[in-house]
């Protein structure tokens, strides 16, 4: 039977594969066809791995033929191109790594490959995951499937656009300050940033190590739970990985949120939000209330400082992490003659794009002698206050709600001239990274014909509560069934 992959979820695909109504090969071929018909419009991929995908699909079919298989067996997916894949080009959308073929698999890729998942390609991103529009990719921008003159958000713009357009059933992205949730919101898909340490970062090309986290981008909440269950869990190769058993998150989805305590932090409903976005989010809050949740206003007074904390801490860590790109061990190396120091400066001048340089410079400045206390240490202290504030609020509430992004998808080029305006895209998503808590964005409606995301945040390791709330909301609405007409 021929399968329409444009709207296909992983849980439906899994059912079709288990019953023999389709095969992994058919599913993969249909996905590859979809990619060939729309990729020139979206630009979701850096690399398309169709030969590998067909080979993996064949192996998946063999496994499926032997009996019950893991849920993601044979299902085509995309990995953001900062997640390393053995023998498959991994570029981070940077000239610095344009020819980098990793000698090992990230833990998340290994876990998916163990299930015989099918990799159709690597997703485009802002170079080194630094950006909110995917315009900073060194190769090409990604376009929003809902309106190709607009950005898909970023930095996981490739994964979000691929899932929204049906070029992959699901994808993995990474989120340092909103890089999964903001593009998920702008492309009308579900995106989860798990608790810091729940998913291994081994093989995620480092941006800001105390903030980075890998998570799923999916078509609905059930898929999100399914993919999270597949990738979560302790990994000895990541020393920040939490030593805890991850449950099967799909078992916990009942749709019952009676008595759930929902907090609406007033600092997330301020001037500067598109009126259409505010309206959609307020309606979503009414839906939660209608499902039996108790909704009350609350306050996180340090929220306005989160952005400054983020743009000091993240670049500082990035400046240290990106020191490894020296043109000696791997990656781009300048052709210019000169001594070691001269070659190092040329390699980095030629290999990094403007936004990456800006952040390295910002971080180097914040860490430099004379400024460390005023910037880096101060930011770390305010980070403590932000964490404490969340801990206190989560004594009174199970879940906090807010818009994911203050606006819908903007035009390509509209904000590219002014770095600071671009930074404002992530004001509602950065606090969760700063505190290390889980947060999800779910489709909540349209404004000006473009998707709006509802963000839900919960306390550390409360992914179950988060997914349960998101699932209940999804069951009560049909926003997740809207797809771009591409």
């Amino acid at each position: 039977m021929s399968v329409d992959v444009t709207k296909l979820t992983a849980h439906d695909a899994s059912r079709l594969l288990a019953s023999g109504d389709t095969s992994a090969l058919e599913l993969t071929q249909a996905t590859i066809e979809r990619i060939s018909s729309v990729e020139h419009l979206t630009g979701s991929f850096v690399t398309i791995t169709d030969d590998l995908a067909l080979e993996q699909a064949d192996q998946a079919d063999t496994r499926l033929g032997l009996g019950p298989s893991p849920t993601l067996t044979g299902i085509p997916m995309q990995l953001k191109d900062n997640i390393v894949t053995k023998d498959v080009l991994t570029t981070c959308s940077s000239k610095m790594l344009k020819d980098f073929v990793p000698p090992y698999n990230s833990t998340v890729a290994a876990k998916l490959f163990d299930q015989n998942a099918v990799l159709v390609g690597k997703g485009n991103l802002d170079e080194f995951a630094m950006g909110s529009s995917t315009e900073n990719s060194a190769f090409h921008p990604t376009h929003n499937p809902w309106d190709i003159s607009r950005v898909p958000g970023g930095s996981s713009g490739g994964p979000a656009a691929a899932v929204a357009s049906g070029e992959a059933v699901y994808a993995l992205g990474s989120d340092t300050g909103g890089s999964i949730r903001q593009p998920a919101a702008l492309c009308g898909v579900v995106g989860l940033k798990p608790t810091y340490g729940l998913v291994s970062r081994y093989g995620l090309i480092a941006f800001a190590s105390s903030l980075d986290q890998i998570g799923p981008l999916t078509k609905d909440v059930t898929d999100c739970a399914l993919v999270l269950s597949a990738i979560a869990g302790h990994d000895p190769k990541d020393s920040t990985s939490i030593d805890t058993e991850a449950p099967d998150y799909t078992d916990l989805l009942t749709g019952d949120i009676k008595g759930l305590r929902v907090g609406v932090p007033k600092e997330y409903f301020v001037e500067g939000i598109d009126p259409g976005v505010g309206e959609v989010v307020n309606k979503a809050i009414d839906v939660l209330s209608g499902l039996g949740a108790t909704v009350d206003e609350t306050s996180l007074p340090h929220t306005p400082h989160a952005m400054a904390v983020y743009y000091i801490v993240a670049p500082s860590e990035a400046s240290a992490n990106l020191a490894r790109y020296d043109g000696v061990k791997y990656g781009y190396s300048t052709e210019a003659p000169g001594t070691m120091w001269e070659a190092l400066e040329h390699t980095r001048q030629e290999g990094f794009g403007p936004e990456v340089k800006r952040r390295i410079m910002l971080g180097t400045y914040a860490l430099s002698a004379g400024y460390y206390d005023a910037y880096y240490k101060k930011a770390q202290q305010v980070r403590t206050l932000i964490r404490q504030e969340f801990n206190e609020v989560f004594e009174k509430f199970d879940v906090l709600v807010s818009p994911t992004s203050p606006s819908v998808a903007f035009k390509i080029g509209e904000k590219a001239h002014d770095p600071y305006t671009m930074y404002l895209n992530d004001i509602f998503t950065q606090p969760a990274n700063i505190a290390g808590i889980p947060a999800i964005s779910v489709p909540a409606g349209l404004s000006e014909g473009l998707p709006v995301g509802l963000q839900l945040m919960a306390s550390h390791l409360k992914e179950d509560t988060l997914l349960q709330t998101a699932y209940a909301y999804e069951q009560a609405t049909d926003w997740h069934t809207l797809h771009p007409d591409l």
Binding site: P103, V328, Y330, S333, W341, K357, I360, K378, Q380
Partner: protein, 95 residues
């Protein structure tokens, strides 16, 4: 917060990122503008507040000291831009 071109040149040297004079100027204006927005942090009272370096409360992780294979030597060498046999070629350190 207005940075001078000299300060920006110094940071670029610390970061080992080569920059043209024009790039230095653009960077000076953009960094100054961004740093201006961070001044609000100075208003936050942080006397006696411990800094948070990490989102998770993890301390040093110990593991058993045992030999393990972490990958194939040839695979790791394959990505080296300049090699001679199994050796990594580097530029002259001294002029």
């Amino acid at each position: 917060m207005k940075l001078t071109s000299e300060e920006v040149r110094h940071i670029a040297l610390l970061a080992r990122v080569g920059m043209t004079d024009q790039e230095i100027q653009v960077m000076r204006d953009q960094l100054s503008n961004t740093l201006d927005h961070f001044q609000s942090l100075q208003e936050v009272e942080t006397e006696g507040v411990e800094p948070t370096g990490h989102a998770a409360d993890v301390t040093s992780i110990m593991r058993e000291d045992r030999l393990e294979t972490s990958g194939d030597r040839a695979d790791f060498l394959a990505g080296v831009p300049r090699r001679e046999g199994d050796l990594v070629r580097v530029r002259p350190v001294l002029d």
